[in-house]
Amino acid sequence: MTIFDQIVPELVRICREHATLMERVQPVIINRDLNGRVRFVLNERWERDEKAREELSAFAKVAKDALGPHAYPPEQAFIFESDEELKCLLSQSPVFPLPGHEGIFVIDRLPTEGDWGKIEPETDVPRVVFFSIKGGVGRSTALAASAWALAEEGRRVLMVDLDLESPGLSTSLLPEDRRPRYGITDWLVEELVDNEGAVFNDMVALSELSQNGEIYVVPAYGSDPGEYVAKLARVWMPKITEDGGHTAWSARLRSLLDALERRWKPDVVLIDSRSGIDEIAAACVTDLGAMLILLFALEGDQTWSDYQILFHYWKTRGAAEKIRERLRVVAAMVPSGPKGGGEYLGRLRERAWDLFCQELYDRLEPEVLPGEDLFSFDLVDESGPHYPWHVLWDDSFSAIQNLHGVLQEVDKARVQTTFGPLVDGLKTWCFNDENR
């Protein structure tokens, strides 16, 4: 019995066996619906062509035999659409070419609006996303410390907590009496009914932490979370426009960030993403125009197995070339001490490099001439996205709830030791014009 992972390989096979027909009726769009069932979308002129209909019907029977429960019965296997509709379909994502077949594309219908394969262009104000596959790697702590370090140099930093399902960044940097009344979740819910004006001016608070610069914090929820679970259930909804169109969750979030930047004019925006591979994380990593995406990693098989899923997805969807230049691995919670840290970092760097070589770097071929513009790096090349910036493990920073107090008491040298490579990398990336 055919299973989900066999759909594409089987389609490759049967389309190859019916290459003449496929070529004649191109473009062919293979529509994989929400239930994982496949239909073929063709130009409506073939609906009226009797001879073509016979051949297509025979093809549909072959598809049903090959795909089993993942195909429709032959009489329901086709959707016929106009030229205009086909063009519109192909410009949407997620869409990827069927491997080995020109003119045949696969569209995946997903229950969620987020899409890992669609990469938004960078914005003017540098946005940096802090991402991890797993929680508990010190991502939010590193973000808070980075914001503090950047602000200590006189920068105006805007911190946005998009880890809506597991928020906490704001509590680390704002004492209770300084938290704003509202948060991101409130804005996303109110914006659905065009009421975002009621919350916009009271969802940002200035942290007192920095003496030299400014840290503006936009929390997931405000001083009173209210009916947070009920609000959270709605934040991913698209907004329906008067003509029946809809604005996706990620586009709504982008418009919020644009508005926050216009209002607060930060030098840099640091975004705490949700961990894992899901629609919210998808929006943070790909749809917010981030110039830098920090991939937090602990050394271990699970980490690389999970990142391999993500990288492979980008590669097969043709998004790898757009996203890879914005990535950087961050080695999290690195054991301190030259022996412990050195060995650990060495292993992590090698595993990261292996993965990047496998999925994201251009393959080096013997016949490639010197000077060719390839995106590829040696293991020890610090400029490569695989080469980790690291964050040391330090007990003092282990409890994020206490970070506000900790940063006030801990000396700058200790922060530099623990987070230095990460912060230095951030500064160079965000404020060096060559990187933008």
Partner: protein
């Protein structure tokens, strides 16, 4: 389950499509009055196709019953009841504005000069909104 091809049996998706195509042909020929009727019928059949996918009960001939036996100007509201009862319903919203609030099946008796271009264009926009939902439902596997 395939239904026998009898004229008694309802086939909402097909009816939605044929009413739409003929409405477009009529509009192109400036046959405003009859185009207007068909935009309304197309939208009605499209919404009922979706309602059936969302769980609307029908007779053995596939026809709606009771409160669902209404035309487009009231189906626009009835649709919401079914949409919210289905897990995928949230993906198929209609705008608040009912584009067919001024449409009536009894307009089939009216003088052709009573149908302005603006009226027909407005109903066409409403029919397009429904058409997009039906297309989405076909692509996502709901229909």
């Amino acid at each position: 389950m395939t239904r026998e091809m009898s004229i008694k049996n309802a086939d909402f998706p097909d009816a939605h499509e044929r009413h739409w195509k003929d409405a477009e042909l009529l509009l192109d020929k400036k046959r405003l009055a009859n185009a207007d009727h068909l935009y309304g019928l197309s939208a009605e059949c499209g919404l009922k196709a979706l309602m059936q996918a969302f769980g609307m009960q029908v007779t053995s001939f596939g026809h709606p019953e009771g409160k669902d036996k209404v035309h487009v100007e009231r189906v626009w509201q009835r649709y919401e009841s079914y949409r919210w009862g289905h897990p995928f319903g949230v993906r198929y919203p209609l705008p608040l504005k009912n584009y067919f609030s001024d449409w009536d099946i009894n307009h089939r008796y009216s003088n052709r000069r009573a149908f302005s271009k603006e009226r027909v264009e407005s109903h066409r926009r409403g029919a397009i909104i429904v058409r997009r939902l039906v297309l989405r439902a076909k692509r996502e596997g709901l229909l």
